[in-house]
């Protein structure tokens, strides 16, 4: 821990650092999962995740609790960083991503479960980018409906309806895969 200031400002700085550290410990895997889902590139996801935390650290004093929870704020930063990366890729015309994981199912999975996973992956591939993002926020990052609404700039009702339709679409696609 670095204590560069003294007195009340130092205490405030320590307080904001402690909050940031707790947020980081609580969310690092979720942020990575969300960013990786958006980019579909584990290596780029690592860079963007680190960048998102660095940005969050630099802006930690600008966080306003009245505008939402810290997790929603952090995922908003991560989303912007990931979208910037997508834009950069689009400009450069590079689509270099890691090859897909050949291991479709865990060793402990049975044949039925493996088939189900394969069907779900295929169904996910058929979703739009926004639907995949919603799935990533809900199941990858584990955000609540309210937090997702803050991140996407939608109403909570809109997010619920959107999620319901997306799940329906996924189920239909999975059934069609079987």
């Amino acid at each position: 821990m670095i204590a560069s200031v003294t007195g009340r400002p130092a205490a405030a700085a320590q307080g904001s650092w402690a909050r940031f550290e707790a947020l980081y410990r609580d969310s690092r895997r979720d942020v990575y999962a969300y960013v990786c889902s958006l980019l579909d590139d584990p290596a780029a996801a690592e860079d963007v995740t680190a960048l998102a935390y660095e940005r969050a650290y630099r802006r930690r004093r600008t966080f306003d609790r009245r505008r939402g929870e810290e997790r929603a704020w952090l995922f908003g930063i991560a989303r912007n960083a990931a979208l910037d990366e997508l834009r950069r890729r689009r400009r450069l015309g590079t689509l270099s991503t890691d090859p897909p994981d050949e291991q479709l199912a865990g060793p402990e999975d049975g044949a039925e479960v493996a088939l189900r996973r394969t069907a779900v992956r295929a169904a996910l591939a058929g979703l739009t980018a926004r639907e995949r993002e919603l799935v990533a926020l809900k199941f990858g990052a584990g955000l609540s409906g309210g937090e997702i609404a803050k991140v996407l700039g939608m109403s909570e009702t809109g997010v619920s309806t959107f999620l319901y339709r997306t799940m329906g679409k996924l189920r239909e696609a999975c059934d069609a895969e079987r």
Partner: protein, 401 residues
């Protein structure tokens, strides 16, 4: 964002089933398939590798200390620098405006009098006096060399700095005027005034106006507006500078070349005279009554114009032929002496100075605000537009919805 409308029961039940599944709680068999899908989706989420997490932990522990890589350009520092530059520019503009305003009168005077020179002498007899040339290019006196006539005061009087005056002649029409400041003791105002009258009379000049105040208990002062032949201006000033009971405190000479003005007026006069002669010739030969009336009217107008041009020409020649001198005589008590005022400390003086400083500071702040406020609005507008554009681009990067 507020929830605008309630969810349908089916939607609500499905979402509750998903949430319950993710929290490890049992769900209704009706939603078993949905629950299974939710669990698979959760298990499918990408998992970061331990080496990456270890690296990230280290970066967080060091609070994202800069690495050896060159630092990326930071928009924040640009904003701070731009703000500082804008503030500095505003303050400079404000200072220029505030201080520039105080030079206005001098500039104006220079515009009225094309060539002006001022010499002032202090009260000290030994001091040569601070000599300052006033602003104003001597464009009118271009080509005219300065005369070498001396106006040094004699005796114990201060010697004002010599003020060059344009040479009159070589076919140029130059007007000349002067201002003379004299200092006399309180009881000597009347004798000095008499000396001024005598000098003017000797030099064939006239006193256009005078104002002399001599009274007991009052310091007294006198002002004179004099007119002398241009050729005798220098000698008159020399004599006025050597009055027995007064000494020179200030002298200012001014000149203006009006040759072009005189030439234009003379040309206009010649032209209108020629026109009138022509009209009179036509009048003598015409036999048509209406034409004769018209020619008579035009000849009358030409005559009136001839009168005007002649008057103007005479006025200009009079200005060239006669020079004006403005003389001010003051006793020491009536002279404002700033160096006395500056000596010592009084509460009222300090208060006055503080008020003046506050006034100037407020003026600078106001002007700076006037510059910065519109600038700030423009910057805020640009930032808002840029944020909208950036948001749209980012959403576009995600692909169509």
């Amino acid at each position: 964002m507020p929830n605008a409308e309630p969810l349908e029961p089916e939607v609500l039940a499905s979402l509750e089933a998903i949430d319950a599944t993710l929290h490890g709680e049992p769900v209704d068999p009706e939603h078993a398939e949905l629950a299974e899908l939710a669990l698979i989706l959760r298990d499918e989420r990408p998992v970061p590798g331990d080496p990456f997490l270890a690296r990230l932990d280290r970066r967080v522990e060091t609070r994202f200390a800069p690495t050896t890589k060159p630092r990326r350009f930071r928009a924040g520092s640009l904003r701070v620098s731009a703000g500082a530059v804008a503030a500095l520019a505003a303050v400079i503009v404000a200072i220029v405006v505030v201080t520039g305003g105080s030079r206005g009168p001098m500039t104006n005077r220079g515009a009225v009098v094309p060539s002006t020179s001022t010499a002032a002498a202090g009260a000290s007899s030994s001091a040569a006096g601070a000599s300052s040339s006033a602003a104003g290019a001597s464009s009118a006196a271009a080509g005219a060399a300065t005369s070498a006539a001396s106006t040094a005061a004699s005796g114990s009087s201060a010697a004002p700095g010599r003020t060059p005056s344009p040479r009159v002649g070589h076919g140029r029409d130059v007007t000349q005027s002067a201002r003379l400041g004299l200092q006399a003791r309180a009881g000597q105002i009347a004798p000095v005034a008499q000396e001024v009258f005598d000098v003017v009379g000797d030099e064939h000049g006239v006193v256009l106006s005078s104002h002399v105040i001599v009274a007991s208990g009052v310091p007294g002062d006198a002002t004179f507006s004099l007119q002398v032949p241009a050729g005798r201006l220098e000698i008159t000033l020399n004599r006025l500078s050597r009055l027995r009971h007064a000494r020179v405190t200030m002298r200012e000479d001014a000149s203006a070349d009006i040759t072009s003005h005189v030439d234009r007026t003379a040309a206009a006069l010649a032209a209108v005279r020629a026109r009138r002669r022509s009209l009179l010739r036509q009048l003598a030969t015409t036999g048509i009554p209406t034409e004769a009336d018209r020619l008579e009217r035009e000849a009358a107008r030409a005559l009136a114009q001839i009168d005007r041009e002649q008057s103007e020409l005479q006025r200009l020649r009079h200005r060239v032929a006669d020079s004006t001198i403005s003389v001010t005589v003051q006793s020491p008590a009536a002279i404002r002496r700033p160096h006395h005022r500056a000596a010592g400390f009084t509460f009222s003086r300090a208060l006055h100075d503080a008020g003046h400083i506050l006034l100037v500071a407020a003026g600078v702040a106001l002007i700076a605000l006037a510059v910065l406020a519109p600038l700030g609005v423009v910057v805020a507008l640009c930032a808002w537009v840029w944020s909208l554009v950036l948001r749209r681009r980012r959403e576009g990067a995600l692909g169509p919805s």
